[in-house]
Structure formats: structure tokens, C-alpha cells
């Protein structure tokens, strides 16, 4: 892989990988590190990718694996509180801010399938494959996540 190809990959995928890593780490600095490690692995990777979909799938799998490694590590970076970080994201409406907060308040096991399904447009079957879960488990987690989000956002609306 030459530098121009690598630059293209970085430009095309870094924000998507960052958003996935953020679901695990809940802070931008560590999410940046996870993406950087994944991109470095991609840069060093010698095997060709069959298609852009194959590359994307590979990058997402590597990022998730790095995030899981990060979670069992005793090392955690000082993180800006999530509310403060949300204020830097420039949401256009209170509703957007509320949805962000509600999603980030979900347990990780719900956040990650939700993100892969709603943001990356993966099917339930594909999410199950990426996370090493059964399809029924992914369906259950999506269902529970929707219920929790609905409840949280209804309470937010009532306030």
C-alpha cells in the first residue's frame, strides 16, 4: 500500500471508525488512539482486500478488537465529562443533544449493536457476525435498546 492509498483510506474511514471506538471508550482521546492503532495495522497489512466492503469490514473488526483490548486494560486516560464533550459537538437542536446523551447512557452491550445497525447500516445478521453473537441476541439487544431510548426520550420530553 502506498501513501496515497493510505491517505484515501484514512480520509474515507477515520470518522466512522472513530464513532465506533467512541461507543466503547466514551472519550475522544482514547477513541483517537484506537483508530490510530487500527489504521497502522491497515498500513502494515500485506494481504490485499477483495473489495471496499471487505476493507471496511476488516477495519471495523480490528477497531472493535482494539477497543475490547482497551477495556480490559487498567490504563484509562483522563476523559472530558461526556456532557462537556457533547457541548463541543455543535448539535443543531436540543433533541439531537438529548438523543446523543440517551444513546451514550445505554450500557455498552446495547450501544455498539445500535451503532452498527443504525449508523453503519449493517443487518442484524452482519452485526451478529461482527460481534461474535447470535442473531437472536442482537435482536434482543436492539429491542431493549429501543425500549430504553424511548423511555429516556419520553422522560426528556416530559421535562
Amino acid at each position: 500500500m502506498d501513501e496515497a492509498q493510505f491517505e484515501d483510506i484514512v480520509r474515507q474511514y477515520r470518522d466512522n471508525l472513530f464513532a465506533i471506538a467512541f461507543q466503547y471508550t466514551k472519550n475522544a482521546a482514547d477513541a483517537d488512539d484506537m483508530v490510530q492503532i487500527s489504521l497502522l495495522k491497515c498500513f502494515k497489512n500485506k494481504k490485499p482486500f477483495d473489495s471496499p466492503q471487505h476493507l471496511r469490514h476488516w477495519l471495523i473488526r480490528v477497531t472493535i478488537n482494539e477497543c475490547k483490548r482497551y477495556l480490559v486494560s487498567p490504563w484509562k486516560r483522563y476523559a472530558m465529562p461526556l456532557d462537556a464533550y457533547a457541548e463541543t459537538l455543535g448539535f443543531e437542536s436540543p433533541e439531537q443533544s438529548a438523543l446523543f446523551s440517551a444513546v451514550m447512557a445505554l450500557p455498552k452491550k446495547y450501544r455498539v449493536p445500535v451503532h452498527l445497525y443504525y449508523y453503519e447500516d449493517y443487518s442484524v445478521k452482519e452485526v451478529a457476525e461482527i460481534l461474535g453473537l447470535r442473531e437472536t441476541t442482537v435482536q434482543t439487544r436492539l429491542l431493549r435498546a429501543r425500549q430504553k431510548l424511548k423511555q429516556t426520550l419520553e422522560e426528556w420530553n416530559d421535562d
Binding site: 475522544a28 488512539d33 490510530q36 455498552k108 447500516d121 453473537l133 441476541t137
Partner: protein, 187 residues
């Protein structure tokens, strides 16, 4: 706007920092970011102790869950998923085929969250009937309380310490779905 569009609009506000490609290439040439270097060193120093703690916590949690399950179901096809959660098929006391997923992992337990047992049946009614949960002590992984029917107002539940039955409690479900645990009269 669909739910997907709303979600994408919100999370498209997340952006990685801009210096990725240069930094990644520098790392490839042996220049590792200071933060990563500190992390690697700290992880290496603490790996043994942390690993032991995680295994102990994880083991205690699933031991408690196993005791809970063994009292109620005949288990088959036990499977450990990549994320640490467990799944298996089972037959309940009435002969119904159900699927059980123990929906928790190490990070959830160490974060202090309760472990949740999700049980799904062949249809929605059965799934609702078998909604279960186990509340887990975040420090030692022991089971604090469990509940097997969300629609019942109260139920006697058991508490295990180091795999041994320690106490019995009555869990009362209040109208807003919060629970209060009080010792049963005979304990």
C-alpha cells in the same frame, strides 16, 4: 425523518482528530505516541494483577448465575460468546423450549452494572413470562438478588456468597418498577 436518519445526523457530529495519517506513519517508523507508550508500560506492569482480578470477578459472577439457572432449567448447548456473554438452550419446568442469554460481560460487572439474564421463548408471551434478571455485587461477583417474574408484586429471592446460599429476600416491585429488597421474616 426515520430513526436511522436521526441517528446518523446526531452521530455524524463525531470526528476524529485530523493528524491521523502522519501520526500513524510516524508510529510505523518507530515513533510511538507518548500516551500510548505510557499506556503500554502501565498495562505491562499491572497485567498480572488485573488479569487475576478479572478472572476472579468473572468466575464468581457466572458461578452465581449458574446456581440461579440450575435451580430452574435443564441446560443444553452452552456457548461462550466472543464478548464474554453466555448463551444456552434450556427446557423449563413446564417443558417449554427457551433460549437463555446471560447478557453481561467483564466490563459491565467492573463498571458496577447489574448482570442481566435475558430469556426468550418461541413467542412473545413466553419471552415476557421468562424475563429474568440477576443483580450482581460489583466487588466480588456474588449474586445479590434475582427476580423471575416482572409482573408479580413480590417474590422471595436468594442471595449467594462464594457459591453458598446465604440469605433469602423478598423483592417488592413498586409501581415505577424500582425494587426494594427486604429480608424475609424467616431469615
Amino acid at each position: 425523518m426515520t430513526d436511522k436518519e436521526k441517528y446518523k445526523t446526531v452521530f455524524s457530529h463525531l470526528h476524529a482528530s485530523g493528524a491521523f495519517s502522519q501520526e500513524a506513519k510516524h508510529m510505523n517508523k518507530g515513533r510511538i505516541r507518548k500516551s500510548l507508550l505510557i499506556g503500554i508500560a502501565a498495562a505491562a506492569l499491572m497485567a498480572t494483577a488485573a488479569g487475576a482480578a478479572n478472572i476472579a470477578t468473572d468466575g464468581a459472577f457466572f458461578e452465581g448465575v449458574k446456581l440461579f439457572i440450575d435451580e430452574r432449567y435443564t441446560v443444553s448447548n452452552f456457548k461462550v460468546n466472543n464478548d464474554g456473554s453466555r448463551e444456552f438452550d434450556a427446557v423449563d419446568q413446564n417443558g417449554n423450549d427457551i433460549h437463555v442469554s446471560i447478557d453481561s460481560d467483564i466490563s459491565d460487572i467492573t463498571d458496577g452494572n447489574a448482570g442481566i439474564i435475558t430469556i426468550t421463548g418461541d413467542n412473545k408471551k413466553l419471552a415476557e413470562e421468562y424475563e429474568n434478571y440477576v443483580v450482581v455485587n460489583a466487588e466480588d461477583g456474588s449474586v445479590i438478588a434475582s427476580k423471575s417474574h416482572p409482573e408479580k408484586e413480590s417474590e422471595t429471592v436468594t442471595e449467594y456468597e462464594n457459591g453458598t446460599l446465604a440469605h433469602s429476600y423478598t423483592v417488592t416491585t413498586t409501581p415505577n418498577n424500582s425494587e426494594e429488597a427486604t429480608p424475609a421474616p424467616n431469615n
